[in-house]
């Protein structure tokens, strides 16, 4: 923990976040979109932990925020996968540009 600059951690999480943005906008399979979302959430979690470590060592706000964000994202992923599997069961397809039965 001695001399890794704060900006190095932030650079890593920035690249991770924008890889997620790219995947979110360019992918068409629902599961891969959800995986890109996971990348973005993970980058945000990493940022919370890093800022806690560098700016407020000795306190735990960032750690707990990361903890709760991981819990929320787990819940969100489970529900999203349940919905996706249900869509697949009904329509045999999980590409976002071909699932348009509920549009009118």
């Amino acid at each position: 923990m001695s001399n890794i600059p704060l900006a190095a951690y932030l650079a890593v999480s920035t690249v991770m976040f924008f890889a997620g943005v790219y995947g979110f906008l360019s992918r068409r399979n629902m599961l891969t979109i959800l995986m890109s979302l996971e990348l973005m959430l993970n980058a945000a979690d990493l940022n919370f932990a890093v800022f806690n470590k560098y700016l407020y060592p000795g306190q735990f706000e960032g750690v707990f925020f990361t903890l709760f964000a991981i819990g929320v994202s787990a819940a969100e992923t489970a529900i999203a996968i349940a919905i996706i599997i249900n869509i697949y069961r009904n329509l045999r397809n999980i590409n976002v540009d071909e699932v348009n039965k509920m549009k009118f």
Partner: protein, 166 residues
């Protein structure tokens, strides 16, 4: 010195595999790359001295969510399936948004974040985390903990309702 080497190895792993994960055309492979990214992030938590976060990240993300992803990928597609080639009409705005955001954020980070070189190394003990998670005073987190538990209950009920056979 060792910490720096570990950090740079983990950083290279994260950058390479997160980009591979969003560009790979086989879904199962991109899930595997995402798994590597999540594990390397857990390694960064360990490097920062947050052992509890490391454990949570490995058990929840790698042990829970990724297994769920892999099962649902195997349920919804065949193992050798390739996704369709991304058309230019779609690739261009996505790449533009990602690169523009990356440049803006990189500029902000390298010009405005003052570079903290030395950090007081505090070791976090589990007792402190436990009392903070279970107390109701200032800087203690019983209420969000309970909110998360209600959310997880709602999530269980919702999952059963959505995914059951009719």
């Amino acid at each position: 010195m060792a910490e720096q080497i570990i950090f740079y190895v983990l950083a290279i792993v994260i950058v390479a595999f997160s980009i591979l994960s969003v560009t790979s055309r086989r879904i199962l492979r991109s899930a595997t790359y995402l798994l590597f990214v999540l594990l390397a992030t857990a390694g960064l938590y360990l490097l920062m001295g947050y052992q509890f976060l490391f454990g949570v990240q490995v058990s929840v993300y790698v042990g829970g969510i990724m297994v769920l992803y892999i099962f649902s990928i195997l349920l919804t597609s065949h193992a050798g399936d390739k996704t369709k080639e991304v058309s230019w009409k779609r690739l261009f705005p996505a790449g533009l948004a990602a690169i523009a955001g990356l440049l803006v954020c990189g500029h902000i980070i390298f010009h405005n974040v003052f570079k903290v070189a030395q950090v007081v190394s505090t070791n976090t003990d589990m007792k402190q985390i436990g009392t903070a998670l279970m107390g109701t005073d200032k800087y203690q987190y019983l209420l969000p903990f309970e909110a998360i538990s209600v959310l997880l209950l709602a999530c269980i009920i919702g999952g059963i309702l959505i995914a059951r056979k009719r």
